[in-house]
Symmetry: C2
Amino acid sequence: MTALQLFFKESHQLSQTDLSFIVNHFETISVDKGTVLIEPGTIVDSVYFIAEGLLHHFNHNQQGEKITLDLHDGPSFCTDIESFSEGKKSEDYCVALTDCTLYVLTKDKYDALINTDVKWSNIAKDIIEKNLIKMLDQVKDMSNKSIEQRYLELLKNKPLIIQNTSVADIASYLGTSRETLHRIRRKNILA
Amino acid sequence: MTALQLFFKESHQLSQTDLSFIVNHFETISVDKGTVLIEPGTIVDSVYFIAEGLLHHFNHNQQGEKITLDLHDGPSFCTDIESFSEGKKSEDYCVALTDCTLYVLTKDKYDALINTDVKWSNIAKDIIEKNLIKMLDQVKDMSNKSIEQRYLELLKNKPLIIQNTSVADIASYLGTSRETLHRIRRKNILA
DNA sequence: TTGTTAGTGTGTCATTTGACACAGTTGTTG
DNA sequence: CAACAACTGTGTCAAATGACACACTAACAA
């Protein structure tokens, strides 16, 4: 059973027939570290399911500084939903931090699923809802926790992300400078 | 036509029959300023559509300080989706900042709609998706814009929210102290 | 009306942070 | 291997921020 099948099976009751029907709409790809999946000015026409590897989702702020929006690991979905769903040009980058194995669902196949299969419509709703809850939790964390606390939790819960991402990129993800993050790291190595 | 009907009509193609069927699952209520709709320790069993008025969504951080998570105006939906959807106890408050007219959809009626009407399932997906995009934009704003810039945009786009919310609550929404927000306000009054 | 409570405006001051500068390290590529 | 680029670690310093304190005002209830 593939990582994708496992993901659907664990979150939803589905017969093997339904599972196969849905999964057959996806295509498997392997990409090298550094591969650009999304770049500004393009319309995102795919959803990516990460079976293996890490993706770096970022953009540039008004001062031209690179800002990390998300650091994705698997098993989970990744796309620029605003571009994918509303057909707008993306303003973001999504780049592979490591070699990755991905399952790709293109927009036409996504629409075909939505329109023909009520089960998929509900699964899509649940996946979007889980992502909404994740974002709400992230906003709460940003308001409620210190940068140090969030760094230490990231280190504990997602060590692979820390290992494969530069200090500067993690700093911008946490909303601080690389110098401040460095002070936190130094303090916690010595402690 | 009610604010709720108008909201659905503008975002989705629906026959008058479908529209009435869906809207009939809601109940209208009027609540006074200060009414508590959600409080910690309870399981949220309703979604609220704001036809008129403002709602204040907040919680307390680890230091016991009040943190504003969202300031809602209409026409839009408001709930604690994590509690409503996953049946967890809420950790948040939701309180009316002004007298409000609300349309309430209870969880059993929501489930009934999801299970009987494919159209509603897709509408729910779209509403959740729009909220996800809104949250993603908020996270981008928090990373990309200064507190001053975000305050001035709030003042311009949602003046009613500024008028009906205390400086301390707006400050915690913007992620700063009431003193710092006060400095920003003073500076921009004089300018 | 008066007392009480919540909120606003403001100054001072210690702390934290970001900006800048630069040396050392690692990794890549011809 | 040598050269270069990218990143890390670090110190200094000015600026921004939060904490604290307190007077003043508005809203509300007794």
